[in-house]
């Protein structure tokens, strides 16, 4: 007890003096783990820490609670944590970000188990806001937030963060595990798939797959499965080539684990018929159910039909509804009509149906690229792309000016007096 008092006094003193570096060391030192050892007194200790002056001490105390085997009153704790986030000093928290993140992980896990995901979303949202240094920075809390958002099907909070492209990763004092990166992009991809932004979902899953790897992660494999389906749904059926910078062993693992059930779908999409597709899916239904991909598979079937119809627009000027249903292997011409109407409304094809003789007339695209708005759209796209390019150049400049890079390139070159880079 005396030790604890001494410890608390010590950290209070450090806080007042503003020696945050020393304070952080004291708080994170595993040899001075007095808070954890005296968890029964934690409430009285917390009461002595006023915010925002003792933010770091408070954070350590809160961290000590989640480190204990169980949290006595989760609701009380959540309120405590929420108030802490809203009133604490950002500067102090930045000294021990890993504590904040760990608390978030524990809360997320707890809420997931209690099936109360919705409660955690605003808290995590604010936690990210608090901790990240710039909009493009990724924290391990992102993955928690996305997970909770997915669980309660409340996507707006996640999307505000997802829509910003990540250009930096917070190291969290070396505690950032690659798992959180994978999860953030995996959940992100799933959220985009839920809100039907399949292009972006594809990109997210691709990012999971291309993370440098010397071992195979289960997340990567699951991401690949969803990647294939989402890519097919998004309508880009051309190639399944993964980016060249995908790690070799990931490619091998994918080949051995997912080729039969997933990669094969591309072949069927390109050369198969609807019956073949259905047979294939039925044959592997169990696997898909186990992977919880049946919903996506259903959408894939839809995409397959749309794709087949789109193919027909390239070969026919006019075709009878019955013939169309036959070629796509649909049950009836009524079903074909339904798909056609959907596709025409979504702007996927340009066609009109003549009810009198049951003919479908395909038109060319009405977009002639001669209106101003289309040109400005093109301009916007190009600018966006140039923006990204600029960031990349900036990065390259940073690297080529970095001490380590110059040292290393000079070491490797046999002519010390002639630095190769520095152009």
């Amino acid at each position: 007890m005396a030790l604890l008092d001494q410890f608390v006094g010590n950290i209070r003193q450090l806080s007042i003096e503003g020696k945050y570096c020393d304070l952080a060391q004291t708080l994170t030192n595993p040899n001075l783990d007095h808070l954890n050892k005296n968890i029964q007194h934690i409430d009285s200790i917390i009461a002595t820490f006023t915010l925002p002056e003792y933010s770091m001490c408070m954070l350590a105390a809160l961290h000590a609670i989640v480190k204990a085997p169980s949290i006595p009153d989760i609701d009380l704790y959540l309120t405590q944590f929420d108030t802490f986030i809203q009133t604490c000093s950002t500067e102090q928290v930045h000294y021990i970000p890993q504590y904040l993140c760990e608390i978030c992980h524990v809360i997320t896990e707890r809420l997931r188990k209690d099936n109360r995901a919705r409660v955690g979303v605003p808290i995590l949202y604010r936690a990210i806001e608090l901790l990240r240094r710039e909009p493009g920075q990724l924290l391990s809390i992102h993955s928690d937030l996305y997970q909770l958002c997915l669980l309660c099907q409340w996507f707006e909070p996640a999307l505000t963060y997802l829509d910003i492209d990540i250009i930096d990763i917070h190291r969290e004092n070396g505690r950032f595990d690659v798992k959180y990166l994978l999860l953030a992009y995996y959940y992100g991809g799933m959220i985009y798939a839920c809100v039907k932004q399949f292009d972006r979902a594809t990109n997210f899953f691709e990012n999971v797959i291309t993370v440098p790897a010397t071992a195979t992660s289960a997340i990567v494999i699951e991401a690949y499965k969803k990647y294939v389906l989402v890519k097919l749904i998004s309508g880009s059926i051309g190639n399944i080539q993964l980016p060249t910078f995908t790690s070799r062993n990931v490619q091998q693992a994918i080949k051995s684990l997912c080729n039969a059930q997933y990669t094969e779908l591309f072949n069927i999409f390109n050369n198969g018929t609807l019956t073949q597709f259905d047979e294939f899916v039925n044959h592997h239904r169990e696997q898909y159910a186990r992977d919880r991909n049946l919903g996506l598979i259903k959408q894939t079937r839809n995409a397959f039909i749309c794709n087949s119809i789109q193919q027909l627009t390239k070969t026919f000027l006019t075709v009878s509804l019955k013939d169309l249903a036959n070629r796509v292997q649909l049950q009836s011409h009524n079903e074909a009509e339904r798909y056609l109407i959907d596709m025409i409304e979504n702007g996927q094809i340009f066609a009109s149906i003549n009810k009198k003789d049951g003919m479908v007339i395909f038109h060319g695209s009405p977009e002639k690229f001669d209106a101003n708005n289309m040109l400005s759209k093109l301009q916007d796209e190009t600018e966006k792309r140039m923006q990204a390019e600029k960031q990349l150049r900036e990065l390259e400049k940073q690297i080529s000016l970095s001490k380590a890079y110059i040292q290393r390139t000079q070491q490797s070159s046999p002519y010390h007096d002639r630095p190769k880079i520095l152009n």
Binding site: I167, D168, P212, A213, F316, T318, F369, L378
Partner: protein, 519 residues
């Protein structure tokens, strides 16, 4: 019965690739051909072929044509008695017994036993000889010993061992001529095994050997001829005959290569190889390999399927060599000419007449459908070429099909990009598709920008990942054993430091950014 298993003892797997052909039955696996409409006779096989190939061709007919089955089996049984092919013999006899076919009078019941004895006896003898040669280590004798043993295996239908023996003789080849003999032997055995890659690789080897041989003989003979005009005429004669046999050899290699290319579905190459075979050689020397009639069938189908019109004209219609072949097979000549004269209706009619005959050819049958399909496609493409729009009813009449089948074929062709057209299914008219280049250019620009942005973004993320030194790795392996990426070496060590030593911990962030940018 399953003679097919022996006949196609290897490499039947590539037949499984699906031919996108719904209108015709494909000639693969177990099919039966009705030959009532053709004048196909077994005599054509028995009289134009000799050796193993004759037996195989007969068996293929027996497998796929019910009406000729017994006749073919009996004939093959007769020929097989000239060899040591015991396993095949047994199978045929079993099969004949199952069919309750009376065996002919000259059937020798003791043949099996006798041949078996003969076979083992000869094998032992050859083996002994070889061992003997080996101990004496006379190179040429060892080579011959291997060759003899290989010949013996080949005679007994043990192609695998035959190839092995022939290949072994390679180490004892001294002159290019030895190499050629070795190659020819390996090719022959691999050919029966249907090991096409092997055939092709040894064909190239043999061709190289022949080439080097030619250059050496030229350099030795030409100076001799110029310096002494009074050379022994006998010498000149032998040189000439040698040259002739070399030419035959080259023709033979071309046949092997052609069949191998045909089997691997490279029809254009196959056609080119077949066209290089001189008629004289084929009609006089290749009874154990291919008859000129068969060869011209191959030439016709492969070239129609793969050649452009100018090539067809240059290489086939006006070629004096091919003319000789065509005189043997007037029906094939008609097909070629009708095709070239664009009277497609009669060309296709002739082709469908000959289809059963082709289906009874061991090497052609698996490809008949694909080839026919290719030829039809070519016809449709050339037919449509001069038009801006074409009436599909007329087209179907010209091509001997119904309008529905034609429509299917057109859809397939348009989809594979072979003709640029679109179908007006209501009025049954085919229109040339007008492509709006400007539209495509803009569309393309849009997709490219999108793609490129995506790639750049991925790159940015990746550099962030690398900067943070994250990667999926197996943590059960101790960090010292990890194959660390040399790019990140420094960061790894620093990170381990920072987690272990508290003093450095706060430094981590600033330190790394310092590492990234020197300011």
């Amino acid at each position: 019965m399953d003679l097919q298993n022996i006949v196609d003892s290897s490499g039947d797997t590539n037949n499984n690739t699906s031919v996108q052909n719904s209108t015709k039955s494909s000639y693969e696996g177990n099919y039966q051909v009705n030959i009532s409409s053709t004048n196909f006779e077994l005599d054509t096989i028995t009289s134009t072929y000799t050796g193993l190939i004759r037996i195989y061709r007969l068996l293929y007919v027996a497998d796929h044509c019910l009406s000729l089955r017994n006749e073919a089996l009996l004939a093959s049984l007769k020929y097989i008695q000239e060899t040591h092919f015991i396993s095949l013999y047994k199978q045929i006899v079993d099969e004949l017994k199952k069919q309750n076919v009376p065996l002919s009078n000259d059937f020798d019941p003791s043949w099996l036993e006798k041949t078996q004895r003969n076979y083992t006896h000869k094998l032992e003898k050859l083996d002994n000889d070889l061992r003997h040669f080996r101990t004496n280590s006379i190179k040429d004798s060892i080579r011959r010993g291997h060759d003899d043993l290989g010949d013996h295996y080949l005679d007994a239908g043990d192609f695998f061992n035959a190839v092995r023996c022939y290949v072994r003789s390679r180490d004892y080849c001294v002159t290019p001529r030895h190499i050629i003999t070795m190659c020819m032997n390996v090719i022959k055995a691999s050919f029966y095994m249907q090991n096409w890659p092997n055939v092709l690789s040894y064909v190239t080897k043999a061709e190289q050997a022949v080439e080097s041989l030619e250059s050496t003989t030229k350099s030795t003979t030409t100076p001799a001829a110029t310096t002494s005009s009074t050379r022994n005429p006998m010498d000149v004669a032998t040189v000439n005959s040698l040259m002739a046999s070399d030419a035959i050899l080259i023709s033979r290699l071309k046949v092997y290569a052609g069949i191998a290319e045909l089997a691997t579905k490279r029809y254009k190459l196959a056609a080119r190889h077949f066209l290089g075979v001189t008629f004289d050689h084929c009609s006089n020397h290749f009874q154990d390999l291919i008859s000129p009639q068969t060869l011209v069938q191959y030439i016709c189908l492969c070239s129609l399927a793969a050649f452009e019109r100018p090539e067809l004209h240059r290489l086939i219609i006006t070629s004096p060599n091919v003319k000789q072949y065509l005189e043997l097979e007037p029906s094939i000549r008609d097909i070629l000419h009708k095709f070239y004269e664009t009277s497609y209706s009669s060309c296709l009619a002739l082709m469908s007449q000959l289809e059963p005959t082709f289906a009874l050819d061991q090497y052609l049958a698996p490809h008949v459908c694909t080839l026919y399909y290719e030829i039809r496609h070519r016809i449709i493409i050339t037919y449509f070429l001069p038009y801006k729009n074409a009436c599909m009813t007329t087209m179907a009449n010209q091509l001997n099909t119904t309008i529905d089948i034609l429509e299917d074929e057109l859809v397939h062709l348009i989809r594979s990009g072979k003709i640029k057209a679109r179908i007006d299914s209501k009025n049954k008219i085919l229109y040339v598709a007008d492509t709006d280049q400007r539209w495509y250019a803009y569309q393309h620009a849009l997709t490219i920008t999108k793609q490129s942005e995506k790639i750049t973004r991925a790159l940015l993320l990746r550099s962030a990942i690398i900067k943070t030194n994250l990667s999926v790795r197996d943590d059960s392996i101790p960090p010292s054993n990890r194959p660390s990426n040399n790019n990140n070496n420094m960061n790894i060590s620093r990170r381990q430091f920072s987690t272990n030593m508290i003093g450095n911990m706060i430094m981590d962030e600033g330190d790394l950014s310092d590492d990234a940018a020197m300011n």
